[in-house]
């Protein structure tokens, strides 16, 4: 499906997270990044973060610690916040198709 077609079929909850996390695809990430996070183009570093978060979520059912994200992708801590202006939880995890984490986020 083209991003435009993906865009018209996505169902989001009240906070812009995917209503059905299992329906995530890389095209979905592109659309969420653009329309929810204002990230026009996802670069290699974005994808490194997204792919790690997605893989971790599929295995463990939750978002990874930011330490694991940094250590497994080689990204520097401060870089994450530049890549995803809404931060790791409401930016990176949202684009990676995770449900909203519990707690103060």
């Amino acid at each position: 499906m083209s991003p435009e077609a993906v865009s018209s079929t996505l169902e989001l909850n009240e906070e812009g997270f995917l209503a059905h996390p299992e329906g995530w695809t890389p095209d979905v990430a592109t659309v969420l990044a653009r329309e929810q996070e204002g990230i026009e183009t996802l670069g290699d570093k974005h994808w490194a973060a997204i792919n790690y978060i997605r893989a971790y979520y599929l295995e463990k059912g939750m978002a990874p610690m930011i330490r694991a994200l940094c250590q497994n992708t080689g990204l520097r801590l401060r870089e994450i916040y530049d890549l995803f202006p809404s931060g790791p939880a409401k930016g990176a995890c949202k684009v990676a198709g995770l449900p909203k984490p519990d707690g103060c986020v």
Partner: protein, 454 residues
């Protein structure tokens, strides 16, 4: 969403999930449990406030929910009304005899549905209504009692309940494992050393007899660890003896928001016991509004005992360190205009009002108050567990418009907020209302202003 266009929005009302389906067909035993719990939860204060309310409705214009949406259900008076109806039924034989005349109503499936929508979905328990009430009715306490009745019946919105359950079952509200916590602190110690340029800088774990045990919000190790580095840098420069705990590090207590005194006591007990175990002189609470109200003011009530040590906000501690000359700040490092958000549970309901202002006066070049501020501040909209309840997120963001308007009127580029929960909501409304602001905790600002050593 402000940017958003072609995405299909969630249908309104949202598709019935398991929770909604459960509310729509409550078993009589569940209703009976909520009713019994409500009667048992009512204290002297609740009873006095409920009989003092004259139903004048003048609180309406003091509530951020009611200010953005005139639906009567948003008024604090309506919230009190829903609790008062059940209270009359419970407390007065006369009212039970003439329910239609007196406005008495049993806790039943219909009232429970309204409690969920109104008391969970339209209130951040900020207490601004109380401050402006003719009488001083403690609306947040009344809302908490009704929420507690629902908690006893297992009827708390699941996103909020899961946050409470995570804390009760794993020791912190984000289910961070012991290895992840320790690993993160060790990793951050390297960040700290790079930050302060000193290889002896430490993030101490489980050191006994320290000046204080420092507890923080799990979102820091999980997603926003720079605030831990910031606190570590401040404590290192000041040369204080402090420690983190290896086991219980979570300052939050969502039992305050689910209303369950049992969950609240279980969570509060751990910090008291950990402080005693480590023989720390003080328990210092990281920047968290409700964590302050819970651990400083309410924990002794839940636990039935006084802690026997001082419980303070880190904001208060850092203000002392600055006043005593133990850290040196260079305000020119933060040239942009700063404004200050007052977290309800730290300020209006907590009494910590001056220290954050002392800090700003020394740490930044220029700062302005919002109008109104201090005791009369508006809630950011994220309190009362709202941030965790996705099903009510639209209302939360709309109610946040009041705070957004306040921030915009200051012209500030940086919003200082001594509460991680507020930081998250303020960041969201910054995006929603295109405020172009950066939101920082007090410790982050102070760390930014620390005089660099060659």
């Amino acid at each position: 969403m402000s940017t958003g266009i072609p995405l299909t929005p969630a249908p309104a009302p949202p598709a019935p999930d398991a929770y909604r389906r459960r509310l729509a067909s409550l078993e009589p035993e569940t209703v009976a449990r909520a009713r019994a719990a409500f009667a048992a939860l009512l204290t002297r204060d609740h009873a006095v406030h409920l009989d003092a309310c004259v139903h004048c409705g003048l609180c309406t214009t003091s509530c951020h929910y009611a200010l953005v949406d005139e639906d009567p259900r948003n008024s604090p008076a309506y919230k009190v009304h829903l609790v008062a109806e059940a209270f009359r039924q419970e407390s007065s034989a006369w009212a039970r005899m003439f329910p239609g005349w007196t406005g008495a109503r049993p806790v039943d499936a219909e009232l429970i549905g309204e409690w969920v929508d109104v008391l969970f979905g339209r209130c951040s328990m900020c207490g601004r209504c109380t401050a402006n009430c003719v009488v001083g009715i403690d609306v947040p306490a009344l809302v908490r009692a009704a929420r507690g009745a629902l908690a006893a019946a297992g009827l708390v919105p699941p996103e909020l309940q899961s946050t409470v359950d995570a804390a009760v079952n794993t020791g912190n509200n984000m289910s961070i494992t012991h290895d992840d916590w320790i690993g993160t602190i060790e990793w951050l110690e390297d960040e700290l050393r790079a930050e302060v340029g000193d290889d002896t800088a430490r993030l101490p774990l489980d050191e006994c007899d320290a000046d204080f045990l420092y507890v923080l919000n799990p979102r820091e190790p999980k997603f926003y660890p720079l605030s831990i580095v910031a606190a570590g840098a401040i404590f290192h420069r000041a040369g204080v003896r402090w420690t983190l705990a290896r086991d219980y590090f979570d300052v939050t207590n969502y039992g305050l928001f689910s209303g369950s005194p049992e969950a609240a006591a279980t969570i509060a007990r751990r910090l008291v016991d950990t402080t005693r175990r480590l023989r720390a002189k003080q328990l210092v609470l990281g920047e968290c509004g409700h964590g302050f109200a819970a651990n400083r003011w309410l924990a002794p009530e839940w636990l039935g005992e006084e802690p026997g040590f001082e419980v303070r906000s880190v904001v208060d501690v850092v203000a002392d360190l600055i006043r005593d000359g133990r850290i040196e700040l260079d305000p020119s490092r933060i040239p942009n205009l700063v404004t200050l958000h007052d977290p309800c549970n730290l300020v209006r309901n907590g009494g910590v009002i001056a220290p954050q202002r002392e800090i700003l006066a020394r740490a930044v070049t220029q700062w302005v108050e919002m109008a109104p501020h201090g005791y009369q501040n508006y809630c950011c909209g994220g309190g009362g567990g709202q941030l965790s309840m996705t099903r009510f997120a639209r209302r939360r963001l709309e109610a946040g418009r009041i705070k957004a308007d306040q921030i915009r009127a200051t012209g500030a580029r940086i919003v200082a907020a001594p509460c991680h929960n507020c930081v998250d909501q303020l960041s969201e409304i910054g995006k929603e209302y295109a405020l172009g602001i950066e939101v920082k905790t007090m410790c982050e600002l102070v760390a930014d202003a620390l005089v660099r050593r060659p």
